[in-house]
Symmetry: C2
Subunit: 329 residues, 2 copies
């Protein structure tokens, strides 16, 4: 069977441009024992993809090799199988690729047929697990504390803020448009939201965080970072989950001086989700609880067809996506 795929043919040095990809037609392989073939129905587009394109052998995951099908996370259906654990008709999530068909991998999980695909890709799996681990394992917030989250209208940030609200924190989001800020406050129940493209950021942040900041969930980097850092309270925690504003820079911007880390006894800690898959069952259980109580909302920004990913991925970097970016096949 022939299928369409997109390979990665050139490492970007700054922005992602269409010439780093190539459209190809491939042939589905003859399955060996234990293999299974997945027809992808929905693919997730994520900021982490930009880090997978970097020539950084020390990263948590090998870079995508030149000539390989571009890596992705997605949902699909098993259409051929020599693996009894993954029978034909099963619905799976896991690492797929920019392709209509993919070979099933060891990381794939079977998921129920009746959960809407948006719930799977927007709340329960990668973004949900990421928000869960960053919030509960890294920040470990206490009710009454103040949390600031950057990239707050993004797939992870919007979940972090809502989970923190459900846990009794004061939550301030930082996002890239007035529309997103209104969504955060009016629809998701954030206490305040700041458009990082507006003026007087320092004053706005001071007003939104009258008791200082105890927890910072960092998705973006950029000028807001130093401003938040300067308002951290003693024993504050910062979770570094992403630095999207730096991914496209050849030379990343410097960070804050470490004197406050010392004098205020701060903890700045990063994580990548591949090290935390063991927390997935607990995360799914917790997130399902929030969903059932109506404490978590999400929105999907759905593109149509594999080719839409080539230009579509840049919506993540210019901030024009409105919700979790997905490609529907």
């Amino acid at each position: 069977m022939q299928y369409n795929a997109i390979t990665f043919v050139k490492r970007p040095t700054a922005e992602i441009t269409p010439d780093i990809f190539e459209r190809v037609t491939l042939q589905t392989p003859e399955l060996k024992d234990d293999e299974f073939l997945v027809k992808q129905t929905h693919m997730s587009l994520d900021p982490a993809m930009r880090t997978w394109m970097m020539d950084n052998e020390e990263s948590y995951i090998p870079p995508v090799a030149i000539g390989e099908v571009m890596r992705a996370y997605g949902v699909g259906e098993v259409v051929e199988s020599k693996n009894p654990a993954f029978p034909v008709g099963a619905r799976v999530v896991g690492i797929t690729g920019w392709a209509e068909y993919v070979l099933g991998g060891a990381d794939m999980q079977i998921v129920p047929q009746d959960v809407p695909v948006e719930a799977l890709l927007c709340a329960l799996h990668v973004p949900g697990l990421t928000a869960y681990v960053g919030l509960f394992e890294v920040l470990r917030p206490k009710a009454g504390e103040t949390l600031v989250v950057s990239g707050a209208a993004g797939s992870v940030g919007s979940l972090v803020g809502q989970m923190a609200k459900a846990e009794g924190l004061r939550v301030v989001g930082v996002a890239g448009s007035d529309e997103k800020c209104r969504w955060l406050v009016d629809e998701l129940g954030f206490d305040a939201a700041i458009n990082y493209r507006s003026a007087n950021l320092a004053e706005q942040l001071a007003e939104a965080t009258p008791n200082g900041i105890d927890c910072y969930f960092e998705n973006t980097g950029g000028p807001i970072q130093q401003l938040v850092y300067s308002r951290m309270n003693r024993f504050g925690r910062i979770c570094v989950c992403g630095m999207i504003s730096d991914y496209n820079r050849e030379t990343p911007l410097p960070g804050p001086n470490w004197m406050d880390i010392n004098l205020k006894a701060l903890r700045v800690e990063g994580f990548v989700i591949v090290d935390h898959y063991d927390k997935a069952p607990k995360a799914v259980e917790t997130i399902t609880g929030y969903l059932q109580k109506g404490q978590l909302k999400y929105r999907a920004h759905v593109l149509e067809g594999l080719d839409s990913a080539i230009d579509g991925i840049n919506l993540l970097f210019n901030g024009e996506n409105q919700g979790k970016l997905l490609v529907k096949f």
Copy 2:
């Protein structure tokens, strides 16, 4: 009884200059119930004193007020007492001041008469507790890992490196002279030492840390910080104990970009010792064990007389002290 003291009369904006101090003659007070009077015999001079001079109400300890006797840590003898827990003749350590006599404070501890004063001030108390907490509570090293410590010939750094050696780590020190580097390797048993004033720091560091760096104990800041940070291994830990090279700057230098904290899942954590006095008994026990096995050496750089502190404190910032800086009265 009249005594000499030195008050703090002006906040420095950069280097410490003699005009920020004033020599005064004071009168010992009439003791009230529960008070006791201590005749100081030895005073410690520490980099933290520079941070106590900053007008930073958010710091872990109130700044020294203008006109107050300058704050210090020291050893003395109780010479008058209305507090039965601190009888005349007892030897105490704790917060004193730049003064020949001080009123005893709640933080003071009685210490045995037979422990040499250098052991008290160089190994067992503030520097020892600081090294112990930073190493075991913050970095939590494992045998076989590589630890780099900056300010390695300083009172805290030299203990950190030796404790880490005793725990089976590869230890690399960063110090400010070839003489100090030789002392670290030849006398204290560090695996390597790097003079941060020499050329090719990046190459020297790469050679000294062939397996990358798992733990960084930061006492100084400065250009070595970014170089060490770039060589951190996944799951590396950085303990920010001091930033001595920035204390005298009006505008501190920026720090490293946080992308590696994210992608390598690093933890950068600060602490100040006042939050950890509860670990003192365990620290003293552990350090006494090292001392008895000959695993910890120290050297004291002793100045004579209260007035020597005024110029002497700058030895900490130009790096010309050779060992723990003390003033003997």
